[in-house]
């Protein structure tokens, strides 16, 4: 037995509604990804780029929203929402993520477009390979790979442009003065994009992608899958090509053959190189291109479409697909809750935040008049895009006197952070508890935003 050589896949192009949907999503995704870093945005302070992840200063800009490191839990909720959305959608509609939205699918699709544009349709590509290393083949392969590399490079550069001022990064990148991290990122993404979308392709989905491995646990009998209608296609006597004697449906049914004419179109268009007629397989990314292919053939023959189609296991067995199950409601509720939480948190974020650090060496100090002093350092961040004037006060600590450094009234520029040092002095009443909880109140001037209360405590001994 000869060692198994992986068969190269030459997906044929196809026309149809799912193909159109895939093109629409590809155009949308590419437009957003490639244009976003070049979009400018007017801000009173900060960079003039609409979306910018400024790592050195730890500020993350999304249009009018500035995200600070302390908002990291927004990212946690966002990831949670992404995961829940994936579970929710997968439970209802199967691997739509794989088929339409996954980066691997999108970039492989674009690479296939380039390949087809340079080397021609499936038979032309196969012929090119069969003829060996001709000058034509070398030329076309070189052009294909050059274009792949160009797209890979621009993908890598675009990614890097999200983390720096895009136009400036481009000039510094070309002139060789960009930071090392920029070159490393672009190189890595160029290499991986080229490798995964150009060379490895469907093997990423089959062998590398973890999602392909565990998506089956989200499936049930009502989950939409791309499936071949075996009963209709095979009939009693199996599938059969259209021959002189087996042309019309009546003739075929009389001879016991099903509607599948075994034209192989559904196999040829498959980007992962499987035969959908063999049933549900882990390699199938449910892109539905075979549906388009089969529907096209059926329409040409004048037969009913849907021999291959989006259906569910229950529907295949003659039942009706139930979209709204307990699982759907559960995922939906969790998704809604997480989304509301995030929206609420983003919408009601304060103009500033503060954290109190109590001085612990020593915790309490006896002063010359017999009163007790506690010291605190309050770190205040202005997370708004406006100047902020604050006054520090104390709530719930009767009789305390306070001294503040650098000043009673502090001024913070946008996105500025400052530490203020507060000393509280309290003449103790008899039977004072060991620890008195109270709040620091940070009150902005002129009601610019709501006062912030930060809980703390006063130690008496």
């Amino acid at each position: 037995m000869a060692p198994e050589i992986p068969i190269a896949i030459y997906p044929r192009s196809v026309k149809g509604r799912f193909r159109n949907l895939k093109y629409a999503i590809l155009i949308l995704a590419y437009t957003v990804f490639f244009l976003l870093p070049w979009m400018r945005w007017e801000r009173a302070t900060g960079p003039q780029q609409a979306v910018l992840f400024d790592l050195p200063s730890r500020h993350f800009y999304f249009f009018d929203l500035v995200v600070f490191p302390q908002n990291i839990f927004w990212l946690a909720i966002l990831l949670l929402i992404a995961a829940l959305l994936l579970f929710f959608v997968t439970g209802i509609a199967g691997r739509v993520w794989c088929g339409y939205f996954c980066f691997q699918t999108l970039w492989t699709d674009a690479y296939l477009l380039i390949e087809r544009w340079v080397q021609g349709e499936r038979p032309a590509r196969m012929r090119l390979r069969a003829h060996g290393w001709t000058a034509e083949r070398i030329g076309k392969l070189a052009l294909t790979h050059a274009m792949w590399l160009a797209l890979a490079f621009w993908t890598g550069f675009t990614f890097a442009a999200y983390w720096a001022d895009a136009p400036r990064l481009l000039t510094s990148f070309v002139s060789g003065s960009a930071p090392f991290a920029a070159y490393a990122t672009v190189l890595l993404l160029t290499a991986t994009t080229y490798l995964f979308a150009g060379v490895v392709r469907e093997q990423v989905c089959t062998y590398m992608c973890p999602y392909a491995r565990f998506q089956s646990v989200m499936f049930d009998r009502d989950t939409l899958i791309v499936s071949y209608d075996r009963n209709r296609g095979e009939g009693a006597g199996g599938r059969h090509k259209v021959t002189r004697a087996l042309k019309s449906r009546d003739e075929r049914q009389a001879a016991g053959h099903g509607d599948c004419i075994d034209c192989g179109y559904c196999v040829q268009v498959c980007p992962t190189g499987i035969d959908i007629r063999d049933g549900l397989q882990v390699e199938c990314i449910h892109c539905a291109l075979c549906v388009d292919a089969c529907d096209g053939i059926m329409r040409n023959l004048g037969w009913r479409t849907g021999l291959i189609g989006y259906t569910s296991e229950r529907a295949l067995e003659g039942g009706r697909t139930r979209f709204f199950k307990l699982k759907t409601w559960g995922y939906g509720a969790a998704l809604l809750l997480a989304a509301l939480l995030l929206v609420n948190s983003v919408a009601t974020r304060a103009a500033f935040d503060a954290s109190v650090r109590q001085t612990r060496q020593p915790l309490t100090v006896m002063l010359s008049d017999g009163s007790i002093q506690n010291s605190y350092a309050i770190v205040v961040n202005n997370t708004s895009v406006h100047d902020l004037e604050l006054r520090v006060g104390v709530v719930g600590l009767a009789g305390a006197s306070m001294s503040v450094q650098p000043a009673d009234e502090i001024e913070l520029h946008p996105e500025e952070s400052l530490t203020i040092y507060v000393k509280l002095r309290l003449t103790l009443q008899a039977k004072a508890p060991k620890r008195i909880p109270f709040d620091f109140a940070l009150v902005p001037e002129e009601g610019a935003s709501a006062p912030l209360k930060v809980p703390s405590q006063f130690y008496t001994r």
């Binding site: 037995m1 612990r360 060496q361 020593p362 100090v365 010359s368 002093q373 000043a407 400052l418």
Partner: protein, 311 residues
Amino acid sequence: MMDEPNKQRDGSEVGTTGHVWDGDLQEYNNPLPTWWIWAFYGTVVFAVVYWFLYPAWPIGKTFTRGVETVTYTQANGKQTTVPWSSRAEFVHDMQSGPEAIKQKTWLEKASQASMQQLGTDPQLLDFTMKIGKRLFGDNCAACHGAGGQGVLGHYPNLTDDAWLWGGSLAEIRQTIAQGRHGFMPSFQGSFTATQLTDLAEFVLSLSGTQGGNPEAVQRGARLFRSDQAGCFYCHTAAGTGNRAVGSANLADHVWTIADVSGSPSYAGKLAAVEGVIKQGVQRQMPAWDHRLSQTEIKLLAVYVHALGGGS
């Protein structure tokens, strides 16, 4: 996993190296994967490149120095270039790394500013407190504690408002730069036991400590203010201390040497005060002006002032 380890992927038998020992002992020829071999050659090439770039081989009393060099400024201000070493790299980073340059700029700003400005300008105070914490930790914390809390009886607490030598910015700066010598003689041999107790009773009464014997307090007060004892020379007749000589204010609630607040009973407090009168006090803080720069002393003074709120 393959069932038979010596079958190749296509099912054919693995060859042997051709050697035979003891008549029938043979060795299968299972070479390493090609990628592994090339990765190994890669490490060899890396090692050779490394020998040229960095110090690598010991030769007698010296070593190969490599071609990488580090340039830094010596203590006398001269630029020097040495073969690469992690120590030279560290010195270079401390002098001209991005953080070092940032710190230099701020130090320059701080050296221009007055102590008043350091304490009230938000940005300068931020810098002062951070540098001050480091300077304090390196130079002062060994005695005064990491937070300036001091050690009762030995090293003053810098976080309260009792300043033996004065708590103004200028006075604190003077203390750090010139050092201080605190001294109170021992009165063990000068007084009888009763007189010692009388004095201690009076001193306790100065800060309003309850439980004393009124007659003993009266006697103590007379003794305190008499030329025979001379306590008032340093502590003043009212017992409020004198910052010129660093004598403690005995009329406040802060006890820097006698552990009065730590003793629950009146007898304990009395014994603590009596102990100090008997033993006397001998404390010295060294001068720092020859160890720290003027700017560092200035920053430290502002930091210490902020610890206790100064005066």
